[in-house]
Symmetry: C3
């Protein structure tokens, strides 16, 4: 990354305005404390403002109404969004295999491969698969028979998509993701667990991104569904017949059990567990590490194991913190009652 840009160039890229020296040249983005003279930094919250004075950054992105800054400033409406776009300016070209189908890839004759597709070394594409225009399949990717990918999907190395799944447009699957493995279903009878065939499939909406080593199981019957624009982090488990609405955020290591439904814009913090057949309404937000075992209506903030409404959780936790102290007070109280009883010759 040796490319550099003037502040004027960056302001143009993000639709902002320069205050101060527009010719200052930066080579990267960095945090307030870490940035040097060749870095641009930003302030997303007022609470960081006092640290700006000590920053060695060559330039800073601030809100349009922000006051004086010790270095040239890029003024804009939304500094966090602007910095995301500046990161895109600095980003090196996306890593991808050479254009076309690598000679070591194994692609079925019956597969329909779109235009401008890259298929990397040792990738395997099954019978009657459809790969949309502009897709990138990195090395060692497996796409099973009759699966369909919309245009501009990116499958990083080690991704496995089994047969008959469907991905929308611009879906990104990070390394070692598994889509469409059998759901976990057995029927116990005569001393053994008999496998319930998992004959359904998985459908993933447009602009979905799924993190490394996450698993999306195929449905028992019907469809396991991930809504448009939903973002899933690493090592997440999505069981069979789960339906996740659009624009949800599922942080790393969450697990969602079978047939559970999430509305739109649901946010699950890291390591959250959700039991089977639960419904979470639009915009439910679950704190990290909580365990959800029942339905919650739209907009609820939940926490705890088992998860309860967050205000209730906070009240409970405040009391749990005080339990050792309460136990001591308890002994004192019993003594006072005993004194009262002996004073009144009672009982």
């Amino acid at each position: 990354m040796t490319r550099s840009f003037t502040l004027a160039e960056l302001a143009k890229a993000v639709g902002g305005v320069v205050r101060g020296d527009a010719t200052v040249r930066v080579r990267s983005v960095n945090g307030l404390d870490e940035a040097g003279p060749e870095d641009i930094t930003w302030i997303s919250h007022e609470k960081y403002a006092s640290r700006l004075r000590f920053s060695k950054a060559g330039a800073v992105v601030v809100d349009r109404h922000y006051g004086e800054t010790p270095m040239p400033a890029l003024l804009c409406d939304d500094p966090s969004f602007a910095i995301a776009r500046i990161l895109a300016v600095f980003a090196p070209p996306a890593a991808q295999p050479p254009p076309g189908v690598h000679p070591t890839a194994v692609v079925a004759d019956s597969a329909a491969i779109g235009r401008n597709v890259c298929i990397g070394p040792h990738a395997v594409v099954g019978e009657r698969v459809k790969i949309g225009d502009g897709c990138v399949l990195h090395a060692n990717v497996f796409v099973g028979d009759e699966t369909e990918l919309g245009p501009d999907c990116v499958l990083w190395p080690g991704v496995v998509i089994r047969e008959r799944c469907r991905l929308g447009k611009r879906v990104v699957l990070h390394p070692n993701v598994t889509v469409g493995a059998d759901g976990f279903g057995y029927h116990y009878r005569d001393g053994a667990h008999h496998k319930i065939p998992q004959i359904g499939t998985v459908e993933i909406g447009d602009d979905v991104e799924i993190g490394a080593s996450s698993c999306i199981d195929r449905a028992k019957f019907g469809v396991t569904r991930i809504g448009t624009g939903t973002k899933i982090d690493n090592l997440v488990q999505i069981a069979h017949n789960v339906e996740i609405g659009p624009n949800c955020i599922i942080v790393a290591q969450c697990g969602i059990a079978g047939s559970t439904r999430l509305g739109r814009l649901v946010v699950l913090g890291g390591q959250v567990g959700v039991r089977d057949h639960v419904t979470l309404g639009d915009g439910v937000r679950a704190a990290a590490c909580c365990c959800i075992s029942k339905d919650f209506p739209a907009g609820t903030v939940v926490n705890g194991i088992p998860a309860v409404e967050n205000q209730q959780y906070l009240r409970e936790q405040a009391q749990v913190r005080r339990l050792p102290e309460t136990a001591a007070m308890w002994k004192e109280l019993v003594k006072r009652i005993e004194r009262l009883e002996s004073a009144t010759n009672h009982p």
Copy 2:
């Protein structure tokens, strides 16, 4: 899935009896609420009975003693089991690579490959490996030196089995499973963690199924053992020297630490953690998200962090829920004692 079957054909397949029009033709299985005229549905519990009246299903599977139904019925002893078998009837043929060894696979000359084996593109089979009759190794599978697979195993793409492990008959490993990686063992000395060599192995019994991206570590010495008929879901961690008995159910994202032993028919809900050197007796059942740090005898139901017997857990949780209210009552109680003290001129 355009194949269709008459109700008479399905009844024959599951050993049931038709009541009503045996010529009704269905194309798939679906839930009570989702099913249409070309679907067959089922009732597994009486509690769903009231919804049957509103179902648009073309046919329904019910218990042999079930009353009138609004659509033709398939009567049988165990509707859930019957529907599992009907799913098998509707299931498309299992996805698998073409018969034989794919020309891109790398199979050691010293490997012994059984009859009717499929080895997919880019699979790698090491020295002196034995692959039983009828095994299917999908694309990009790795089987290390001297590992042995019983007949009819299925290894989905991306599975890695390291050297000297043993799998029984009909073992299924879903995509990206790792078997036989080193256990996690170090000895801290002179300012560094020194690796303890993990020279043991892994043995997996007949009819075991292991979910995507789960990890079964090889033993420090001796054997990490998964019992016959045990089913393990996705993203599960089984540490070195763990011994799991037959017919256990280990739901997604559980972690079992080193040298722990589970009896037969133990059930761990999702995200359960079990510490090292613990013994869980036959039939222990652990609720999702609990954390087990000590032994429990056969048949115990456990919950909580740390896990305690479930009745104890439920009593504790009922009180935790009431803690905020209890705190208010506490203040009231202290006031009443103060009033009593002043009334009795005490202390």
Copy 3:
């Protein structure tokens, strides 16, 4: 493993002294209870001493000052360390692909491959990659453009390292590990989550070992860093911009959220979650299954959800266990107060 060694040979290998018959010949290592006449066992804690009497082991490793033993003994300063070294003596040769670059591997012409490197079947090495002397890349490994590996690294099958990452010397990545996938960062605006480009990288210090299917995300900008000598177990999630100090131990299924910093010698038990932007000082120890949501200073032992100092946690838990009993006492106390009130005609 049919090789055998005399006790004298083993004593020489670990720098110990034999007491009793130095010609006794053993073939493996085993636990006190499991060992037979051809096994050597060991006693690491006095508490196991009473079981030694019943052990059938052919020899035992004990502390230099340990008393009489029923079988020949290998005396040394540190039995646990000695047994680790004895395991190394018994260990079969490390499994690895044949020397050189396998003909099916795809290695860019611009890659710089050191001496004595093994690159297995179907491995893929990108443009301008540097592979240090003595590295072993097993089958189906992917190393992205411009990534650099120090000498003597071992990448097991299925490992994916994306572009521009750096590994030190003797780094071991177990099967299906992902290094350098995009961090999880989005900016919500106008009804959609916009991806924040993740243009940073990952640096992994010398002697780091990372367990199967663990994920180390690349930084948003700058570096995600794993310190020298740190050991990470299976299925662990390390988010973007995390910095882990040297010689930490991170047990299976832990998740560490973005920008969190761990000092040196931090130990996280299994399934621990640590939220973003937290700092844990040197030597912090976190109990399994706890959830850390704030900073803790050096040396703190923490537990609970949310994690608190361990002594506080233990006091709280003791009271939680007693809550059902306390509730009964509460009712009794209220009755006593009511009796007092009626005895004093109060209120």
